[in-house]
């Protein structure tokens, strides 16, 4: 069954056609990678999915819900979480607070005026947040301010924030960009582990190593259009992909 169905999406910026009639389906429970050269429209595509941008035409269906025209917080509330290319975290808050906020958002909805409850006595939320931090290996640093973390740790924190909401669909925008090989492998392991929970994932990635170790299906985007789609091993050998993406070099 498909969890995400994108049909006929177009998006232009001035004269630039960033997305050209994109049709895209994601099967529930799978990891689906989107690859493509710089400027292919990968991030624009992701932004159209989560309501940061509104597509000019076309529909984005999440299960039975149409995401087109919904506000970012509404899209999150139906079960779509996103990890950004540059980590978006609450920099002035502690790690624990960083994870408690999405946990509360999941439990209490988009707005709750709980002004007379002690947040530190909410053991349910606190325990869940601690559990998530433990999962990504940051529990020791829970009282640290998030801005003091290294870039890799910030990414892991953001991942914990997204996972704490038990999303149905997780969108990851280059989760290993700027990481060392060791950190990349750690992240792959982490993503594989959370794969066991049956969260559907869409991953934008440059690093082929990551794509081929995670994804069950790969979509190749070039100049705003899908040029190939299929299993990783098929994509590897597709001459069109090598032409557009790899400049003819062999993988």
């Amino acid at each position: 069954m498909e969890i995400l169905k994108v049909e006929g999406v177009n998006k232009s910026f001035g004269g630039l056609r960033a997305l050209n009639n994109v049709n895209f389906k994601v099967e529930e429970g799978t990891v689906h990678a989107i690859i493509g050269p710089n400027g292919a429209g990968k991030s624009t595509f992701l932004n159209c999915m989560i309501g940061r941008l509104v597509p000019d035409t076309g529909t984005v269906m999440f299960g039975d819900v149409s995401l087109t025209g919904m506000k970012p917080h509404q899209i999150n509330q139906v079960g779509v979480s996103r990890v950004f290319q540059t980590p978006e975290i609450f920099g002035d808050l502690t790690l624990l607070e960083n994870v408690m906020i999405p946990t509360l958002a999941k439990r209490d909805g988009e707005f709750a005026l709980h002004a007379f409850v002690r947040v530190d006595q909410d053991t349910e939320v606190r325990d869940k947040a601690l559990h998530m931090l433990e999962d990504v290996g940051l529990v020791e640093k829970r009282e640290m301010v998030a801005n003091s973390l290294s870039r890799g740790d910030k990414r892991r924190l953001e991942l914990a924030m997204c996972l704490s909401q038990d999303p149905k669909l997780l969108l990851l925008d280059e989760p290993t960009a700027g990481m060392s090989r060791a950190d990349t492998n750690n992240t792959i392991d982490l993503l594989k582990r959370i794969g066991d929970r049956g969260i559907t994932k869409v991953v934008i990635e440059h690093d082929m190593h990551v794509v081929f170790s995670l994804a069950q299906k790969v979509t190749v985007l070039a100049q705003g259009a899908i040029i190939a789609e299929g299993k990783p091993e098929d994509i590897k050998g597709d001459p069109r992909v090598q032409e557009a993406y790899l400049g003819g070099a062999h993988l």
């Binding site: 989560i50 506000k71 970012p72 917080h73 999150n76 509330q77 979480s81 996103r82 950004f84 978006e88 975290i89 609450f90 920099g91 002035d92 808050l93 502690t94 607070e97 408690m100 906020i101 999405p102 509360l104 958002a105 999941k106 209490d108 909805g109 988009e110 707005f111 709750a112 005026l113 709980h114 002004a115 007379f116 409850v117 002690r118 947040v119 530190d120 909410d122 009282e143 640290m144 301010v145 003091s148 924030m161 909401q165």
Partner: protein
Amino acid sequence: MLGLNKKDTSLFLLVLALVVFAPLLLNPFPEGSELAQFNAGYPDLMQRFLIFGIFAVGFNILFGLTGYLSFGHAAFLGVGSYAGVWMMKLLTMNVIPAIFMSVVFAGLFSLLVGYISLRRSGIYFSILTLAFAQMSFSLAYSVLTPITNGETGLQLALNDPRVLGVSQVDGSIPAANFFGIAMRDSFELSMGGWLFTFNAGYYLCAVVMMVAFYVAIRIFRSPFGMMLRAVKSNQQRMNFTGLNSKPYTLAAFVISGMYAGLAGGLMVAMDPLAGAERMQWTASGEVVLMTILGGAGTLIGPVLGAGFIKYCENIFSKINDNILYDWFAGLPEGLADFLVFVIHPFIGKGWHLTLGIMFMLIVIFLPGGIMEGFERIGRLFKRKPSSGESVSAKTSTTPAE
């Protein structure tokens, strides 16, 4: 205690003790001595400490937590004042309806202003709130004269209806009271050379202020307060986390507007008149100064900032050249003249200059305000924490940007 953690309980008790014993603490110098002019323990000034403390605590809920800098909060204080005086004109001289309706009207007005202004953030939000406040100020002088009584200001009159009370007592306007206890009633205690004044109005302000302070602590420690800090930290992430930041900021705006209204209502309870100058932009700017001076985002900082500014206003503005000559009486005449000449611009009407310089010094050297100063002093007396702990220090004292 009262659902507060240990640290907050001791903070609350400390503030409580300071407020209860303020009439003693603020009068350290014997009556008639040279230094008696530095005493702040008279009811009028102490009431203002508390009233502006409430104003600043409320402002801090908006500015300190969400980072939205409103330049129009005096408008809510003004609306609260007018509402309060009208209650005293129409209903009764009991201060309770006046204070209550001040909060209600300020809350409604801030809901309107906030709903419109919060469509923008940053400097545009500040300008919108400033525009609203200046508009209210101008309207109070012009078309709203039937409600505000224009330049004269809204005052009580002998022929006011006061349907729940009496229009006049023995040919004069009855005193503002709390179920019979007149606000201006005082009990004077003379001990040796010292004279302490315990004023009924002051203690009413004290009770209201402690309740307001308690509510502020609860908000700071609540999930709601955490969300407000999330607004300040990263509104984008907040929205992508499934939270709608708009109602959060609006709620914070209305709550702080109600605090401002409460302050306005208390002003009326202490002195039943209201004028448009309370809404002027300088008054809005003053509460910003108080909050930043004390430490935006901290619990007690704004209270200290309010006290500091109100103390300077009253004490520095009272010093004149004659007093200076008294101080320098022992010095040669030429030197005394010179010193008076140098100090003259900073005292009397020039106290704003002193305040401005102090404000600049604090913002440059202690961006976290007076509270950061205390923290630094506190750190001197503690053993140096290990590097891991120092990073983990909570961010409650993050300086305002």
